[in-house]
């Protein structure tokens, strides 16, 4: 193992390119960030019935989230303790009253405890008798949920979920508060897209407000052309043309969209999404919200200025439109994203359709937006192989942000404070791993 000089790799205004490419650093990230921090597993509504399961990776670990007979949600390592075979072989489904291994029929309760072992006498006198915990599936060290969103941590140590989420928990509040019942439900279509680039490019990109009008120019101006024509001909255009056309707004406009950056690398891109037109559906919907929460609270919920919330290091939540993308890193240069959207409970169908159209146009595998993001990140990963330079720069508006109570506020929306703050968190996770005396 090569020694790692973190002071050299991560500087306040730039990072060394190897943080995106190096296998040893990737392994450290998996072990000490993803396999310790609270990682999103899925939404409660994905596993409604007893035995419903959903499989995902936490870091490098194949895991399964399952609804137990007592209706609680368990998160278990998806592994038979006998010979190590994966127990659930599909992304989602129902496993009945328990898990059964396809290799030798070891069976387990939904909480992971061993149920039966064939020819069990054969284990007499060994350390693998059914009363040994070694015969049961292993559970995640900690499982907690926040407003229906289920998280697990593979480490007994560390902050609780709410402390970890901090102010960024507004991602889930903003999503749920937009329902008069305070709840959302996952729409059971999960798109998965693989990017040929490091996971950090995705996280940086989500709050990078200088890129949209460059990267997404082609789609933004194409949508605006149709949007303007419709407005001229018919007086109005569907909201989803606006979703696309705003990507190509001016640099100045984007520079006025500020970011707020929290501990642990979380952050928010503030922007009003134009979701309060005065059409009859919206008027009816807003009345429902104010009826449920009162005038003042209702107005607060409807007026929240959020474009994206990031839960570092893997989650991007677009709460006003009920979208969520979750990263599952596979290799230094390969990252899977799971893409979900949610239905607000108790709202008119027209309000769901807003989030549906955003999901279809921006987040589906035929996205007219992310096509160019993924291309950028692929080229970034290729570019980092170059010896034409060693550093990745985060100098824009360096020193120009405002810090208050440990929270960093941009004064120019396009400030690279976003990346600087993410690397501050990255640095403290990795520093705690390689210099255990340093506090995370």
């Amino acid at each position: 193992m090569q020694s790692i000089d973190l002071d050299h790799l991560v500087q306040p205004d730039r990072v060394h390119k190897s943080v995106y490419t190096d296998q040893q650093l990737f392994d450290l990230e998996m072990e000490h960030i993803f396999e310790k921090a609270w990682v999103y597993c899925g939404h409660d509504s994905q596993v409604k019935e007893v035995g419903d399961y959903f499989t995902m990776h936490i870091g490098r670990q194949p895991m399964v989230m399952v609804r137990d007979v007592d209706k609680s949600v368990k998160v278990l390592y998806n592994r038979c303790p006998h010979r190590g075979v994966e127990l659930c072989g599909n992304q989602s489904g129902n496993t009945g009253k328990g898990f059964v291994c396809s290799y030798h029929a070891w069976s387990f309760h939904l909480n992971g405890k061993v149920k039966a072992i064939p020819l069990v006498k054969g284990y007499d006198g060994t350390r693998m008798t059914p009363d040994s915990p070694d015969c049961s599936m292993v559970a995640a060290a900690r499982v907690e949920s926040y407003r229906g969103f289920v998280f697990a941590s593979l480490s007994k140590e560390g902050p609780g979920l709410v402390e970890f989420l901090g102010e960024a928990k507004v991602a889930f509040d903003d999503m749920c508060d937009r329902s008069p019942l305070g709840e959302v439900e996952a729409v059971p279509v999960c798109h998965r897209v693989v990017q040929h680039s490091n996971w950090k490019f995705f996280m940086e990109n989500q709050l990078d407000s200088l890129h949209p009008s460059v990267t997404h120019q082609s789609t933004g101006v194409s949508a605006r052309k149709v949007e303007l024509r419709l407005k001229k001909e018919k007086g109005e255009a569907p909201l989803f043309f606006h979703y696309l056309s705003t990507f190509a707004s001016s640099f100045d406009q984007w520079d006025s969209v500020q970011t707020v950056n929290f501990k642990y690398g979380h952050g928010i891109l503030k922007a009003y999404m134009g979701l309060r037109p005065t059409d009859p559906d919206t008027v009816k919907y807003e009345a429902l919200i104010k009826q449920a929460y009162g005038e003042e609270k209702g107005e607060e919920y409807l007026a929240r200025s959020i474009h994206h919330v990031l839960i570092y290091p893997y989650l991007s939540v677009q709460s006003p439109l009920q979208q969520l993308r979750c990263l599952r890193p596979m290799a230094p240069n390969k990252t899977l994203s799971e893409i979900w959207h949610f239905r607000l409970k108790g709202v008119p169908e027209a309000i769901y359709e807003r989030s549906l159209w955003y999901f279809n146009l921006v987040n589906s595998p035929a996205t007219m937006i992310n096509a160019d993001d993924l291309e950028n990140w692929t080229k970034a990963q290729l570019g980092l192989q170059s010896r034409g330079g060693e550093w990745v720069s985060f100098h824009r508006n360096y020193g120009g942000d405002t810090e208050k109570d440990g929270i960093l506020y941009s004064n120019n929306g396009t400030s690279e404070v976003v990346m600087r703050n993410q690397f501050k968190a990255w640095d403290s996770y990795i520093r705690a791993a390689i210099q255990p005396s340093a506090k995370a």
Partner: protein, 208 residues
């Protein structure tokens, strides 16, 4: 002698019987069920008798559409659709309403215009990498013919080359064609891709 012991051991085998009452797995988990086969959501087309000229016209139409995609003739591709035409790739084969369910593509002519215009824009960055497709269309079945419409089922294979990578997509087309004079136009093209819910290595930039 070792050799003799092995010989003896090999001489005293058991004949494995067929299943008497229940299998070994059942004896452990009698109520074990529902973890294997996923029921097919597929669709079996039913052919109707049509005259050879119509069959030929429909086949030529589908082959022409594939050629327009493979030559990036987006403008001509769009013109194959009627003014109220829709291109729809649902997420799952059980979906029925292109406007109300999460889709991979859900595009009327206005949204198709946005996609076309994007693909032709000089700063469509993702279009800079070498990219090309090859579609094969076959198994063409005409399912219904009325005075104004023809319902057609077909299957496709598509190979895509991008940068140095090859991807492969396949599935079924269901076209609702409308007769406009001697021409056919697409009122609805439904594309059910067999690998529609697999993880995408990169995304789909153009219609399949």
């Amino acid at each position: 002698m070792k050799t003799n012991e092995v010989k003896e051991a090999l001489g005293t085998g058991v004949v494995i019987e067929g299943i008497q009452s229940m299998s070994g797995a059942d004896s452990i988990e009698p109520d074990h069920m529902g973890r294997g086969r996923q029921p097919s959501q597929g669709y079996i087309p039913k052919a109707v008798k049509v005259d050879a000229a119509l069959q030929r016209q429909v086949e030529e139409f589908l082959f022409h559409q594939a050629a327009l995609l493979d030559t990036k003739a987006w403008g001509e591709f769009g013109k194959l659709f009627s003014d109220d035409g829709v291109y729809w790739m649902p997420s799952t084969p059980t979906q029925t309403d292109w406007r109300r369910e999460p889709s991979i593509f859900a595009e009327d002519k206005l949204l198709m215009e946005v996609r076309m215009s994007r693909l032709l824009h000089p700063n469509a960055w993702s279009q800079a990498a070498h990219w090309g497709t090859n579609h094969m269309v076959g198994n063409i079945v005409i399912e219904a013919v009325s005075a104004n419409t023809v319902e057609v089922y077909a299957r496709f294979q598509m190979m895509e080359m991008r940068r140095d990578d090859i991807r492969h997509f396949a599935g079924s087309y269901r076209h609702t064609l409308v007769k406009q004079g001697s021409d056919l136009k697409i009122k609805l093209q439904r594309v059910d891709m067999t690998n529609g819910q697999a993880a995408y290595d990169y995304v789909l930039q153009a219609w399949v």
